[in-house]
């Protein structure tokens, strides 16, 4: 089959945006995405000049794209209901039942926690799996891969984190002060997820951040002797497994209109609002370990000596 002529190929490549300096078709915002005009090919006086012209044209196009997106959405915003209005369409019977029926049905003082962990629990289940899949992908990418021949882990160039400047005593002193407070505050936020603001994610993130601070200040060796990669995997396995099983139980009973025998407890007490507390604890645990795993994977491709 002889090749179709060169210019057909170049025209099609240009339409497809396969040029080496690809200006891929931008996803125009409104429903009639116009074809973008081709970057004007100036007389190539010198490669440097052409590069500059191309950069200029490229920036011009990006400004045009940015303006069209913003203008279209601004016009849309101008038609939308007024900000903070009383009788906006969003304030309908859905919002009233979430607030008024919340104490009897979910039993959480914090209506937002009640809403995300009981009324619309399927989203939150999906979303904790988003975090799990993201961690799996980061592990796939950054975990030190075993050298095929020798089988040894080729660990990225590990300059010694600990070799901070000699005067790091200020840093280590303040870290020694901050870390316990951070972890305590994180635990408080997780446990009181259904009573006050916060919940599994924010509490877990706070604990994760303070763990990272601790690992930076006092060195990860002592901590990672206990918290190896295997334990991380098993922690996230147990936490997510209990989360899924609890939710399966509550969905199954809900769908088949069975009475789920989970006590809601007295509103305001710690052990109230049915499943929300255990779920918050599970999520908090997973998020904390995940944040630490992110840090250690990014900095040294795995826990401890990288396994």
């Amino acid at each position: 089959m002889k090749q179709p002529s060169r210019n057909v190929a170049r025209f099609v490549n240009w339409v497809e945006g396969e040029e080496v300096f690809p200006v891929p078709e931008e996803a125009e915002r409104n429903q009639k995405p116009r074809k973008k005009k081709a970057p004007v090919k100036a007389k190539p006086a010198s490669p440097e000049k052409e590069k500059r012209i191309f950069a200029l044209v490229y920036d011009g196009i990006s400004v045009v794209v940015c303006l069209t997106v913003i203008l279209t959405l601004l016009v849309t915003v101008s038609w939308l209901p007024r900000f903070g209005g009383q009788d906006n369409p969003a304030e309908n019977e859905v919002y009233i039942r979430y607030l008024e029926g919340e104490l009897e049905e979910a039993g959480a003082i914090n209506a937002v926690a009640g809403m995300i962990l009981d009324y619309r629990a399927f989203d939150t289940l999906g979303e904790s799996n988003v975090l799990f899949i993201a961690v799996c992908s980061v592990i796939i990418l950054l975990r030190a891969d075993r050298n095929r021949k020798t089988g040894a882990l080729n660990i990225p160039e590990l300059e010694n984190r600990r070799a901070l400047q000699p005067d790091d005593s200020i840093f280590r002193g303040s870290a020694a002060l901050l870390v316990p407070i951070g972890i305590l505050f994180g635990i408080y936020v997780i446990l009181n997820g259904h009573l006050s603001a916060g919940g599994g994610f924010s509490g877990g993130a706070i604990i994760g951040a303070s763990l990272i601070l601790y690992a930076n200040a006092c060195g990860p060796e002592k901590f990672e002797r206990a918290f190896t990669f295997r334990t991380y995997q098993w922690i996230s396995f147990f936490a997510l497994m209990t989360y899924t099983l609890l939710k399966t139980y509550s969905f199954y009973t809900g769908a088949n209109h069975l009475e789920s025998h989970i006590p809601l407890g007295t509103p305001g007490a710690i052990l109230s609002s049915g499943l929300i507390l255990p779920l918050n604890i599970c999520v908090g645990l997973v998020v904390a370990c995940t944040m630490y795993a992110f840090y250690s994977l990014f900095s040294k491709g795995g826990f401890g000596n990288g396994q």
Binding site: P4, A121, G126, V130
Partner: protein
Amino acid sequence: MNLVQNFPFFCIMLYLAGGVTCCVLTPKASRAVCIGLNLLVTALMAAALAFTVRSGESYVYLMGHFPAPWGNEIRIGPLETLMGTAFPLVMTLTLLGGMDHIFEDVEEDKINLYFTVVNLLMVSMLALVLTNDIFTGYVFVEINTIASCALVMLKYKSGKALVATTRYLIMSLLGSGLFLIGIIILYNITGHLLMEPMREKIHELYLSGNYAFPLTVTVGLFAVGLSLKSALWPFSAWLPDAHASATAASSGILSGLVIKSYMILLLKIFYRVLGMEVVLSTGVLNVLFVFGIGAMLFGSLHALQERDIKRMLAYSSVAQAGYIFAGFGLGTAEGVLAGCIQILVHAVTKPMLFSAAGGFMTVSGGSRQFSDLHGAGRRDILSGIAFTVGALSMIGIPLFAGFATKLVLTRASLATAGWKCVAALSAIVLSTVLNALYYIPAVALLFDKREAVHISGVKAQPSAVYVLSLTVFMALNFFVGLRSSLLTCILEAGLNVFS
């Protein structure tokens, strides 16, 4: 609420649990769990399919104790269960077909993560097909995006895979960004997130005429966002790199299944959320139709020039996606039916082609260029036959799966008026000839006597699993080709109760 109605819910939860367990198991154990899970889900969904087809209408399954406008729910009808059965079945066959590639391309201690990603990809596809709530749709679109990007990049030390993943992820994120802002505008003007209550509100707005402009912009956002993710032609610059540089099994899964779940979500949003009259009034279907026609032509034109077998198959996926969108773009129920049939036909054919391409690569020293693949079909006779069956089905020869689509699409385009009918018919004829123009020389080249000197004589010893998967794929292809009337009436029943 008898037991069968719970099966789709069990499938979603099984996949979630399976995904989590696979990441702590050994590679062999996680493979067993993944394959077993897929087979179990196929069986469960087949039972659910039998139930819904017998009962003939779709029922709502509450995810939690609270009915429609408050709690989440999934809606199960003949169309959803048919897709729910087809997807895991094709997934199992593709995994079996590409199994030895997976164990060769992916590193030793990351294979169990591969199966974790596969399980979570399946849960997101099932959820996208079943969900009755838009924001749940968005969350599972995100899982789908990350999982499919993870599938692409799982090639050991391959720079191309990384670059392809980045471009794919960036374009997908743009798509989901637009999709999310569409959801938010809809929530803002209707106050609901569940599909049915939102439909009534939109109907009222459409009649009363206020918020008309935001409604049009939302339809545009959904159309552009989801067609960006399902690789409709002008936005498909990322697809060839992504699907070509992945391992054989992953590219089969990506082309066959992943881009289809977004199309079904778009269909669901047009049918169930916005309602057909709103969508028709905005004319976005004509734009999708024109892009579909463009995809059919430019996709095939590009595949014609490609000298790399997997990029050729990837570009032919772009062309087949064009068929589906041309079907949807016709705007009639028959057009949508043609689109759905093409979804099933392509899901059955393309993974077989990619597995066969994988088989050719092992036999010709791992190279993908056609110059090295001379006579590969003779060295690995089973992949050769499978590739020929797939190629003929793509061209649309009767008795194969592709013929059903051509027939229903021509009849559907005939039913529409004027320019659409002429454009669709001419595009179908032209793209069939273009398909023949690049598939037939490829098949002829694969059975060519003159083999590249350094590869000739390498006889393939395919593993039993590979043989099984390709034979079952071919049987499935023949089944869809011969019994397409069975599939059509299930899909018709599904579409009637779809909105």
